[in-house]
């Protein structure tokens, strides 16, 4: 049983997502997007709670912040004692697009079972200079190049969205 949860935070505020599992063999993919382009606090909290063994999770979050936005992403993977055979990976990547924006990244783990695989990764930074240079060297202006890079960055998550309506809505936005 495989299913997907999508959470998009595009206005200041808070969104809290809890993922749990009904039975063994369930697989959940969580896709999170934070599009913070206004001043304000954006807080995304995700909890993947493995109370049952042999369940699988994949969490991918991409966030961008500009215009004085402040984003905070907290992602927690929890595996209780008897939930063996769990495999989970959480990844959050946040891009700060200007000097006014800020980010707090908190990837957390609470693991009480040992026959498991759990890992997480988080990065926070600005647009890679190398990527920018590469596009500019192909004749693309800086502003355009940045848009391309940001779109590509967010598409890493958007492209995986299964719901066609949600997907097309997000793809239509200009970042």
């Amino acid at each position: 049983m495989k299913y997907q949860r999508v959470v998009v935070l595009d206005k200041p505020g808070k969104k809290d997502l809890v993922v749990d599992f009904g039975r063994e063999g369930e697989e959940v993919e969580v896709l999170g997007l934070v599009i913070a382009d206004q001043p304000g606090d954006y807080y995304l909290k995700i909890l993947v709670d493995h109370k049952i063994g042999k369940t699988f999770g994949r969490v991918m979050v991409r966030g961008i912040a500009k215009n004085g936005a402040k984003i905070q992403v907290e992602g927690m993977i929890k595996i209780v004692k008897d939930a063996n055979g769990v495999d989970d990976f959480l990844e959050m990547r946040l891009l700060l697009l200007d000097a006014k924006s800020q980010a707090v990244a908190e990837p957390k783990l609470e693991i009480e079972a040992n026959e498991v695989k759990a890992s997480h990764a988080a990065t926070v930074g600005k647009i890679d200079d190398e990527e920018l240079f590469y596009l500019q060297s192909r004749g693309i202006k800086q502003g355009e190049a940045e848009k391309l890079i940001v779109t590509g960055f967010l598409n890493q998550v958007i492209d995986k969205i299964e719901d066609p309506i949600v997907k097309s809505k997000l793809k239509a936005v200009e970042y």
Binding site: P107, S119, H120, V124
Partner: protein, 476 residues
């Protein structure tokens, strides 16, 4: 449980006897010059300062700290310390001149551990609290001569205060302010013992300076205060602790370590902590790093019932670099709550945190970290790697990192993995003839290797053996 090996039964009787005889030691007739009644008062603090003949400013500082200690609550984010009854703890306020315990009274299990690790006799006696003085006149004498020829100061903290009051006054509690947290306040009020080190400009101290080389090593260092000042361009490596189990009569250790790394200086501070399993080990360690300075904390946490320690670096000058390499091993009844803090205040500062933890037999290993990159710290880079091994179903591992980024021209990377020892790796080594527990110990040591290789060889060898010892008890 293991499918490979036979079950190894824990020798229940030996464990019980050990804890009984330990209780005995706790209430034993250890002569102290001055033993406080339960609880702590301002008068005791003032008296302590007077007996030590301290300058007035230090007495005032202690009293201010005491006031803060009384007022402050325990910090919100630390693990449950409700097991400590603050009024019941004896605050040993004066150093012992000698104890009435003998080597024979030290529990067998502890003696055996010393044997296995190969700790020299003199060290054993000192570590088990039998001798308060390390009889190292000869070694220490020549060490001091060569150091002082270079202008290096290496004294006990009390001596340091007496001989270099101006220097101490300039830095004492500047890096860890009195009100930083409740435990630091306590330490500032009742501190005793610890090391004072000053390294002059451009002097490189080749030999690692070791805590037990200090003459008059005070009893068990419950409230040790260490201050290290590395002047511009200097280099020094300080090693604290020992991998042999430290048998302590005090159950609360609240130490503070302050380090100043001036421009271009390089300091490494290595701690291998293996306090006996009743100790609450709560330490505040912080380094202030100036331009192009480098600070490296190596933190090995093997013992104690609860250790709470987050060696921190404040990267205050351009291109300052901070590193914390931390190993935590949590066995039965233990909680290692360790990690690091890196605060980037200046541009082009870099930090690295590597944390490797192992939990087994129901132990709990927690990584708690903070990386904060302030506005203005352009070009800052930070990388955090935390790997955890959970060896059995009863144990637990947590990772609580907080990364606060207030500047955009930076890069932060963080990764963490939790796993168990791979069955295929075990099979591979066993197929080459290693019995299961040896194979597991080898894999665990391999897991710790990236950090071990940064520790001076003799300690690394001892630590490896200690890990193997700890592993022996883990099968079954």
């Amino acid at each position: 449980m293991s499918r490979f090996a036979k079950i190894v039964k824990l020798d229940q009787k030996a464990v019980k006897t050990l804890s009984e005889s330990y209780q005995l030691g706790h209430h034993d007739e250890i002569t102290y010059e001055y033993k406080s009644e339960r609880g702590l008062t301002a008068k005791m603090v003032a008296d302590l300062s007077s007996r030590k003949n301290e300058p007035e400013w230090m007495k005032e500082l202690r009293l201010r700290a005491f006031g803060l200690y009384e007022m402050m609550p325990m910090p919100g984010w630390v693990p449950d310390m409700s097991g400590i009854n603050w009024n019941e703890i004896y605050y040993y306020l004066a150093p012992t001149k000698g104890t009435s315990k003998t080597w024979e009274e030290v529990p067998d299990a502890i003696k055996k551990t010393f044997d296995k690790i190969g700790v020299p006799q003199a060290e054993r006696e000192m570590l088990s609290g039998v001798k308060a003085q390390y009889d190292s006149e000869v070694i220490y004498g020549s060490l001091r001569k060569s150091l002082s020829a270079k202008g290096v100061v290496f004294l006990g903290m009390d001596d340091g205060l007496a001989k270099y009051p101006e220097l101490v006054k300039e830095y004492f509690s500047r890096i860890v302010p009195l009100g930083d947290n409740k435990l630091a306040a306590l330490n500032s009020a009742v501190w005793s013992g610890g090391s004072f080190i000053y390294v002059p400009k451009n002097v490189e101290v080749e030999l690692p300076l070791q805590a037990y080389f200090r003459i008059n090593a005070e009893n068990a260092g419950q409230f040790e205060r260490t201050l290290i000042i590395a002047d511009e361009g200097s280099k020094v490596h300080y090693v604290e602790g020992c991998s042999a189990p430290a048998y302590s009569s005090g159950s609360l250790h609240a130490a503070v370590v302050e380090i100043i790394v001036k421009k271009g200086a390089r300091v490494q501070y290595t701690t291998i902590q293996n306090w006996y399993k009743n100790v609450y080990n709560l330490v505040t360690k912080r380094a202030w790093v100036e331009e192009e300075g480098q600070m490296r904390w190596i933190d090995g946490n093997l013992g104690s019932r609860l250790t709470v320690k987050y060696p921190a670096c404040i990267l205050a000058g351009r291109k300052a670099r901070g590193e914390t390499l931390s190993i935590a091993m949590a066995g039965s009844g233990q909680h290692q709550d360790a990690g690091a803090k890196m605060i980037h205040l200046a541009p082009e500062t870099t930090s690295q945190i590597i944390s490797k933890s192992i939990s087994k037999n129901g132990g709990r290993a927690t990584y708690r970290g903070l990386v904060k990159i302030n506005k203005g710290a352009r070009g800052a880079r930070s990388k955090v790697v935390c790997d955890a091994l959970i060896l059995d179903p009863r144990s637990r591992s947590d990772t609580y990192p907080t990364n606060i980024i207030l500047e955009n021209e930076v890069s932060l990377e963080h990764e963490a993995t939790v796993s168990k020892v791979g069955e295929d790796q075990l099979f591979y080594l066993m197929s080459r003839g290693l019995p299961e527990h040896e194979a597991e110990a080898m894999i665990v040591n391999g897991f710790l290797e990236p950090i071990m290789k940064q520790i001076p060889l003799e300690y690394a060898v001892e630590m490896n053996r200690l890990v193997e010892l700890e592993m022996e008890g883990s099968v079954g």
